[in-house]
Subunit: 386 residues, 2 copies
């Protein structure tokens, strides 16, 4: 929560504009985050994960600061270009791409693509053939167990390291540049050592490819850098040190180029959602019955990451000095799945009441674009970048 | 799958317009569904649950057929009015309402409101005072265990029957009409007997209120009527019979007015999504490794109800006569939570390949409006009502 956000929200309320939840993102915090990454990993290029929050002003500021961009679709590539990034600063990082979208990306000048199987390599090779694009680089994503992450990754992206060697060799044979290896240690990764095992696999792939005459040059260290929710998290510097040590351990003095793809770590703590308490109630007359607190935002309005109660946001109220009681926290829709915290109830002040405004902190990432387009007739999350 | 949908999709493909997933809803199927409900429960008014699919053409046809509308927000009330429904055919069925939204609803002429606690009753009483609205009715929602439902309801909505008596009495004292009781047996409810227990509670509340001099008149039987996904489901007639028997058993020959709120049962089987296979791959070279099939639609593009693998849609391909193998089915986004079926793999033809189109049936309800507004830069689900 910054003074700039507090002032913005106060002005909005005074102007009588507050009639629904709103996300406010403070660009100054994003700037600080970018600079911390740049300082902590000075030889690593930063590819901001656009999907975390693609607000145009935010992308424009990052482009000006020198950031590169990790994109998930042609639409995100266009957003990065419109924000001022040149195509050589854009990676098409989704391993699941339609062939015609690869052609579009090549036509827009993008030359860096993620793959995790031979079929995807073949799509890119055909698209290169169709467009005559030169110097197209691919990196192969490998699986990573994600232990220690709050939003752990499934096996959806990546392949086993043994298979990655074959995938990169296939790319090389088809005339693409086998550029390197990527992995992702899991989102909101609290363990600074998590990169070590993945870097061991990456260096093994480098050696295997070298034996086949293929010189890989890049390791994409992915994202996973956490933002502060309820618990404290290690500073970016700690991740930087730990990653540098692991790189040295596995690659010796022949360090590869490296890139990182922070999303949450770049914008999470820059955003605050203001929401209204719509109802406080109990399910029976029993004194011990748990309180239900219903907000005007929930799982379908931007807080999708409360799924399985994974991400626990910090919520501030105007009664935080009062006694707190365990509450079930739910959203405003007529959908019974729209309950955010129930298995582990959320402690809120006993004096919290209908009409009170609450602040949900650390909501700059993975909120606004996750909103449903119109579920229950409710509009997507109003967003302001200041 | 109807011939009209097949023709529409074929024309769309021929016109070269097929570049993303699309939902097509056949109004003729919706009409048949409406008529089945009207026949199966002849003395029951049908309140279509707008949230299931609020497409204007669909609402207009239902309004013309005589349907009433269950709405979750002021926006949905406006949609129902624009579709041609008069305010007396609209229920504001969300138990979680902002007081200013209740005022707006009253100003739009709506007089029927759901509540499940005294605080909500008080909001309505104050709003009635502020607007001078007359004859405002409230019904109290009670909890129901939801056993037998595929998309079971949490305890989010409703209160214990004992408490409901007090809530209705409170409404009566504050000058509102204590109109009746509602419950919901859980969505996609396969057990036709599920209404029995809830009706026992409802009749008990009727008696308790009568003893206090309050004559309730209505029982809202809610939704829960299933649509056919992979498994067969009982016909609407079976539900009609079973509900009528339970009503007679608990209310004798003093049957209350009844209403139902079908959503999925009204539009689920009227819709088909056409989607493209973006990638088929494996995670290792191991022959026994499971196949991953990635579509261009997933959890964030409209198939949110695959959450926890709750709803298992029927998927048709052009190779359905071939040998089938277990597959993990995932969506197109760079989000590892965007996996639809993994714990229980989905059996798909071994010949299914990249670029193939597949049809996901029974997707008329709870799909289009659940789409995220722009996650990964992907647009919300394109929808056509024919």
């Amino acid at each position: 929560m910054t003074e700039r956000i507090r002032d913005f929200l106060q002005d909005r309320r005074r102007a009588g504009l507050a009639d629904g939840p709103v996300l406010v993102v403070d660009l100054e915090v994003v700037r600080e985050n970018y600079e911390k990454f740049a300082r902590a990993l000075p030889d690593t290029r930063v590819f901001y994960a656009v999907k975390a929050n693609p607000e145009p002003k935010l992308l424009a500021m990052l482009a000006e600061l020198g950031s590169c961009f990790d994109t998930a679709s042609v639409a995100e590539i266009r957003m990065a270009l419109e924000a001022g990034a040149t195509p050589d600063r854009i990676s098409f990082g989704n391993t699941i791409k339609k062939e015609r979208d690869i052609v579009r990306a090549l036509e827009l000048g993008v030359r860096l693509f993620a793959v995790d199987c031979e079929a995807e390599v073949e799509k890119i090779a055909r698209s290169v053939g169709a467009t005559g694009a030169e110097d197209t680089r691919v990196f192969c994503r490998i699986l990573c167990d994600g232990a220690g992450a709050e939003w752990p990754l499934s096996r959806k992206f990546g392949c086993e390291p043994e298979m990655a060697v074959g995938v990169l060799e296939h790319a090389h044979r088809l005339g693409l540049e086998a550029y390197g290896v990527s992995f992702h240690v899991g989102s909101q990764q609290a363990n600074t050592e998590a990169w070590d095992g993945a870097l061991a696999s990456a260096s093994w792939i480098f050696r295997e490819c070298a034996e086949r005459g293929i010189a890989l040059s890049m390791v994409n260290l992915g994202g996973g850098f956490p933002t502060k929710y309820l618990k404290d998290v290690p500073a970016v510097e700690a991740y930087g040190n730990s990653i540098f040590q692991a790189l040295s351990k596995h690659f010796g003095n022949r360090l590869p180029e490296t890139i990182i793809e922070p999303g949450r770590g770049m914008v999470g703590n820059a955003g605050v959602i203001e929401s209204e308490v719509v109802l406080v109630s109990k399910k029976s007359r029993d004194e011990d019955e748990v309180r239900w607190v219903y907000l005007d935002i929930g799982k379908f309005g931007g807080l999708a990451e409360t799924m399985d109660e994974s991400i626990r946001y910090r919520i501030r109220t105007e009664h935080d000095d009062d006694r707190k009681v365990p509450c079930v926290l739910a959203g405003p829709t007529c959908d019974s799945a729209d309950v955010m915290y129930e298995k582990t109830p959320y402690w809120l002040p006993v004096s919290l009441q209908i009409g009170d405004l609450v602040l949900i902190e650390g909501t700059g990432a993975y909120t606004s674009t996750y909103s449903s387009v119109a579920f229950n007739g409710l509009p997507p999350l109003e967003t302001h970048v200041i």
